[in-house]
């Protein structure tokens, strides 16, 4: 296809220039790319797929709302300077969140394992095969994580485990690329409580391109709290892929609180009969930020279930997009799917784009979806004002109320408190933590 008739999203960046940037980045990054973590064959195949896919196009429905202008200047190669975790340990420690009791902790700084900030547990199990899921153009930036990741978590989970993985980015003297990577394999019957956090910031004009992949074996359970509270100048591309075998249960709570520009591509694949996945996601934005999410749920096997509860609060001139697409294959008899998307507009120029989509190829299915966007309910607001609360507190409480059911999935009390605290902080009002139940 002729590049000239496919205007790339970043405007100034042509398809050919993008390809050249990637090739140059490979040369720059080569000394940092450990082939023990990801074999050269995997990296090279991934790069070729990414090159073939090229830049997302404006008219591509999958990428319509993403703000990718920064790709015109963002680097792809990690910085050698930033890759020395001991050098950035101090800066990383300063933004490292308080740890949760009862969780084993692994900390990565600029994508690199930082043993001094972590518990003395392995982050990498050489006996586990690389978890490189099938990616499509929807997850195209995941390929570039495959190509450029300098380090990773790769573990198999057996029995019961509670893990906290923190990816800290720190600003260095120049724009850099950071490729955080998490691969977890849950053995059949395993039970994992996973706290995944993305904090700090890689600095002005930098790029963070994270990839997380989980594979849940038969009957495995995973409760996953994923908190993204990167600095507000951060530019994040994020790929999340989760595959479920039979009767596996996955519950994801997603807090998208930071970044200037975020694009998160998520895919949940229900391969095994009776597998169930629930996503409760919240996004909060202000200023002129853009948080774009695209979620695909594939029901492949019979009796699979999925639930999506997605909430976004956009203030000022910011924009939040959630595309949530559920596909039920002809083989997925008696599947069920529920989607609830809600947006709250907190500014005259704010925008929330909600797109629940459903594609069904079997008759035996139960599916529902709904999407609503609006401003704060005036009756609720007046009720709180009439009790003497100031307008800011009233707004904070109502926003909290709006988001509240999106954190209701978190069964673990400690994690739930953490999620609530993070949300209350992100709402940034005078709402005290005790307002929450």
């Amino acid at each position: 296809m002729n590049a000239a008739v496919r205007p790339p999203v970043p405007g100034s960046l042509s398809q050919a220039a993008f390809e050249q940037r990637l090739r140059d980045a490979v040369m720059d990054a080569a000394p940092m790319l450990n082939s023990r973590l990801l074999p050269v064959s995997v990296r090279s195949a991934a790069l070729n797929r990414a090159l073939a896919a090229g830049l997302p196009q404006l008219r591509d429905d999958l990428w319509r709302y993403a703000d990718l202008k920064f790709l015109g200047s963002a680097p792809w190669a990690p910085s050698p300077t930033a890759q020395d975790p001991t050098r950035w340990q101090g800066a990383a420690a300063a933004v490292l969140p308080q740890r949760e009791a009862g969780f084993e902790r692994l900390v990565f700084v600029n994508g690199r394992h930082a043993p001094e900030l972590s518990d003395a547990i392995p982050a990498f199990d050489a006996s586990v095969s690389p978890l490189v899921p099938e990616r499509t153009r929807h997850e195209r930036f995941g390929w570039l994580n495959d190509a450029f990741a300098t380090d990773l978590v790769r573990l198999a989970v057996e029995g019961e485990r509670r893990l906290e993985i923190v990816f800290v980015s720190t600003a260095i003297d120049a724009p850099q690329a950071v490729h955080p990577r998490l691969e977890l394999l849950l053995r059949p019957g395993a039970s994992l409580t996973l706290l995944e956090r993305h904090v700090g910031g890689a600095g002005h004009a930098s790029l963070i391109n994270s990839a997380t992949q989980l594979h849940l074996g038969s009957g495995a359970h995973c409760q996953h709290l994923r908190e993204q509270s990167l600095s507000l100048e951060s530019q994040l591309l994020d790929t999340l892929q989760v595959a479920l075998d039979s009767n596996a249960e996955y519950a994801l709570t997603l807090l998208q609180l930071g970044t200037r520009s975020l694009r998160s591509s998520q895919r949940l694949s229900l391969y095994g009969a009776g597998a169930g996945a629930r996503i409760h996601g919240t996004a909060v934005s202000q200023g002129s930020r853009t948080l774009d999410h695209s979620l695909l749920v594939d029901h492949v096997a019979p009796r699979t279930t999925s639930q999506q509860v997605l909430r976004g609060i956009a203030r000022d001139r910011s924009r939040i997009a959630w595309r949530s697409r559920v596909e039920v294959a002809a083989t997925a008899h008696n599947a069920s799917s529920q989607q609830s998307l809600k947006g709250l507009l907190g500014g005259a120029g704010a925008e929330v784009d909600l797109r629940p989509q459903l594609e069904i190829h079997t008759d035996q299915v139960r599916a529902s979806h709904g999407a609503t966007t609006g401003a704060l309910d005036e009756n609720m607001r007046f009720y709180l004002l009439s009790r003497g609360l100031d307008p800011d507190t009233a707004r904070g409480l109502l926003e909290w109320s709006f988001l509240e059911d999106a954190v209701s999935l978190v069964g673990d009390p400690a994690l739930r408190r953490l999620a609530e605290r993070s949300l209350v902080a992100a709402l940034g009002s005078s709402v005290a933590g005790e307002a929450v139940q």
Binding site: L384, R387, G388, L389, D390, L403, E404, A432, Q437
Partner: protein, 253 residues
């Protein structure tokens, strides 16, 4: 004596619709006044205008409360000055703890009066005591504001809030609607417990039955946005027997 609440020639509208068309009302401290009237007569509009609900436009007239211009105050300032509005349809606010709201509301008023915030344990004692008075299970205190409450439970919760806030003027909009006879008694007891020489209560109601339990000093009949008749408690009983039509006809004549 001067009135706690003094309304003069109050006109208000929502959009193009005039809902209050010249209300005059004096409520002295220490008294309970009932505002009665048929549906659509402007009863709820009057409550809402007093509370400062957005959407109502006061086109003329004045409202003085404790000698101040009530209409110049924002809704939250009215509340902190001791005005309590009991809602006909209290809203549900899931996820916001009922006790938290009570405490935030009380502290907002206390700060306004330059008092220190209430101690958390003292507050809990206070709320438990008031909840007991309202025959509300303690579990209601830890639930979301009105979340999943029945109609009657919501109304009890309104009165609970009122008892905690101890307003100087309570305007209760159809607090009796949707209550069974036991709940009505409890709500009435709650209201009566607040009666005092410094306070005034305005009961907005369609029926006389609440007035069997909370004896009013004065009864006013509202029709088409105006008070068409005022009298003592006997007026409420007369309305119960004769309905509103005779008054409306008299007004129209």
């Amino acid at each position: 004596m001067t009135s706690l609440l003094s309304i003069q020639n109050l006109h208000a509208r929502i959009g193009d619709r005039e809902v209050l068309r010249g209300i005059d009302l004096e409520v002295p401290a220490g008294e309970v006044h009932a505002i009665m009237g048929p549906n659509g007569s402007g009863k709820s509009s009057l409550s809402n205008v007093l509370g400062g609900k957005p959407g109502y436009e006061v086109t003329s007239g004045s409202v003085s409360y404790r000698g101040r211009d009530l209409l110049a105050l924002a809704p939250e300032e009215r509340a902190r000055e001791g005005l309590f509005l009991g809602f006909q349809y209290p809203v549900e606010i899931p996820g916001v703890n009922n006790t938290y709201l009570l405490r935030a509301a009380l502290n907002a008023s206390r700060r306004h009066r330059s008092q220190s915030e209430v101690d958390a344990y003292d507050f809990l004692e206070l709320v438990r005591g008031k909840a007991k008075l309202m025959k509300m299970d303690e579990s209601f205190l830890s639930r979301g504001v009105n979340e999943g409450f029945s109609g009657g439970e919501k109304k009890r919760n309104e009165i609970l809030q009122m008892l905690v806030l101890e307003p100087q003027l309570a305007v209760l909009d159809e607090t009796d609607s949707g209550l069974d006879i036991d709940a009505l008694k409890v709500v009435a007891d709650g209201i009566n417990s607040l009666r005092s020489p410094e306070r005034a209560i305005v009961l907005v109601t369609h029926y006389q039955r609440l007035l069997d339990h909370v004896a009013p000093d004065r009864v006013h009949v509202l029709a088409r946005g105006r008070i068409v008749k005022s009298g003592g408690p006997e007026l409420a009983r007369e309305l119960e027997q004769r309905g509103y039509d005779w008054l409306l006809e008299a007004e129209a004549a």
